[in-house]
């Protein structure tokens, strides 16, 4: 699925408000065609700012890189991009159908095509019955569906969704997840901002965690949680004294029994331990493979390693230490502003 030209290739994105609030600091992110990329982070981490920079809603203090092969900030590129803003608000006097068609027209889509696509999207979002009612009469979830339809009406190659499931019921969330997967299967790139980590975990190929305007970590969920993969063997009675022979293994004592923690993702590696336990006629209560969830990963990323507490929300107001300006690769088509 991964091609050589990323849909989004961002380097050294910085945004400083009023000369002192560092919303983003040297952010590097790549999103590949046919990939769903989840952008995570606590409140005020800079997720929405990053997406707004891509959509020309916010001007970056410094940005290099490309979106769909064009420099960041080029308006014409936006005809190929779909965007669902957080807390979006269509004029309440428009009907759902009119709002989608309005978005399509602003993307320069001819009338016949936009009508056809609008009908199809209304059906896909299950909003056909409400299509000709005014948006002012819609529930939050219905507005979100119309917003999503408006984001997709230009048949985009890249879709940026800021909290797409906000206000949507569980059935709707499931449908939106299915739409995301469908878009990925069609070869589109999707960048999703969301606080609902369990949902992202189900659909994202890769994730990036932003903390105080910096990328704390990014990669595939499998890669990011590889270090945390282990097997947990729960036995009755005391811990065997020979476990130290198995490198990195530890012992935990829960309420009932003893838990042997073996740091490996390979089931073959734990067979000698199980054999020895059986040889000693110990009772094996359970054997479970374990891997960090996205939530564990997220919490680890947003926890201050020094204090062990979650970092305060919001952007960093302190000035960063002076550093040499990042070098621009030759031939890079990115723009600074």
């Amino acid at each position: 699925m991964v091609s050589e030209t990323p849909s989004i290739d961002l380097k050294n994105v910085s945004k400083i408000y009023k000369g002192r609030i560092h919303a983003l600091r040297n952010v590097d992110i790549q999103v590949h065609p046919g990939e769903i990329y989840g952008l995570l982070g606590p409140n005020g981490a800079g997720k929405s700012t990053l997406v707004k920079i891509l959509m020309t809603v916010v001007r970056a203090t410094h940005v290099e890189g490309t979106m769909l092969g064009d420099p960041i900030g080029r308006k014409s590129t936006l005809t190929r991009v779909g965007y669902l803003p957080e807390h979006h608000r269509f004029p309440h006097w428009l009907t759902g159908r009119q709002a989608i068609e309005f978005s399509a027209a602003l993307c320069k889509i001819p009338r016949v095509v936009r009508r056809r696509r609008t009908n199809k999207l209304l059906e896909q979002m299950m909003m056909t019955d409400w299509a000709d009612s005014r948006i002012g009469t819609y529930s939050k979830g219905m507005q979100q569906r119309i917003g999503l339809a408006a984001a997709l009406v230009n048949d985009p190659e890249l879709v940026l969704l800021d909290e797409p499931t906000d206000g949507v019921d569980p059935v709707g969330r499931r449908e939106i997840r299915d739409i995301l997967v469908e878009m990925r299967d069609e070869g589109r790139s999707v960048l999703v901002n969301s606080h609902i980590l369990s949902e992202l975990e189900l659909v994202c190929d890769r994730v990036g965690i932003l903390v105080k305007g910096e990328v704390a970590t990014q990669g595939s969920i499998g890669d990011l949680t590889a270090d945390s993969q282990r097997y947990e063997v729960l036995i009755a009675g005391d811990a065997p004294n020979w476990l130290a022979d198995f490198k990195g293994s530890t012992i935990e004592v829960p309420d009932a029994g003893t838990k042997l923690v073996i740091p490996t993702a390979d089931p073959e590696s734990i067979q000698p331990i199980l054999d020895r336990l059986r040889t000693e006629a110990r009772t094996i209560l359970s054997v479970q493979p374990f891997r960090e969830s996205l939530e564990d990963l997220f919490l680890r990323a947003v926890t201050d390693p020094e204090s062990g507490l979650a970092m305060k929300p919001g952007a960093n107001r302190k000035r960063p230490p002076k550093a040499a300006p990042p070098s621009t690769p030759p031939g890079d088509s990115g723009v600074g502003s």
């Binding site: 001007r59 936006l78 965007y83 979006h88 027209a105 602003l106």
Partner: protein
Amino acid sequence: MIQTLALLNAAYRELNARKLFWVTMAISLFIVAAFAALGINERGITVLWWEFELEFVNTQFFPREVFYKFLFANFGIGFWLSWLASILALISTASIVPDMVTGGSIDILLSKPIGRTRLFLTRYFTGLLFVTVQVAVFTIASIVVVGIRGGSWEPWFLLAIPLVVIFFSYLFCICALVGLLTRSTIVALLVTMLFWLFIFGVDSGERFTQQGSIAYEMDLEQVQLDLEEAVTMGDPVEVTAPLLEVVDRTQGSYDTWSFVHFWFYSAKAILPKTTETIDLLDRTLRENAGLDLPFPDEGGRRGPRSGNMFGTTSFIRQRDIEQAFQERLDERGLVWIIGSSLLFEALILLFCCWRFSRRDF
């Protein structure tokens, strides 16, 4: 083209959805209907089937067509469209820019492949569309009423459409600027009203001091003539010395009025000229459509000694001052009245476009 049509279509829907638009339209049509219900004959005026005998308001003083033109120019345009309807239009359109730049709404618009300047200006002209439709409906209906009831089909009335729209645009650019900077409809509306009050104050001050300046200019001419006459007649110093004092005092008053007028005039030169823009319609109708009204009786407006409100030494009739004042106003060209006002508006819009283009949302 597709984008522009979409924005205009959205503007039309927005107007359609605003109740105040239809309320204003209904009041406009009601006023035109009231014009139609009014009539004038040789004995007085009529309202539907009632007749009111009036000594000075009848066809012996006012030809029928002048009566209707007067109603249109003074009440229809001078009072309704340039005051009440404009206030209603401002209330109704003040939210256009703040609504656009509200979070959630602006993201949708800016994330489309359309330039920010074009987007802002399209929204701005949406507000003007509100007034254009209102004035057009009122004016065309008035033309029909004056044509049928007054027997005079007057195409010059159509000039009211651009003039009232231009007049409204002077105020709306301030509304758009404040709305853009503060994102608040209430603040935009209040500041615009205060601005309107301010330019009205400057305009009134300029008019008043201009009349005062004219009054003392006339006064000075008169007292100088008196002095010259006394000198020519060989009057003794006892007679000419007080006259000389009067000339000096009048010169001083004239200088003071002229000085204050200069500052009002300078301030007005850089500000939009709302009243004079609307007065252009009067001027045009007087010059081209035979709207020549008799001046009011001078007796009621004459001061006890000077004959005017400025207390001049010589007897100068208020009517003469007003006539001279009107002549000076008529000398002011379109470039000074509309050109400088539009320049002010263009500078405000330029700043708005620059700010809108540079701002993060």
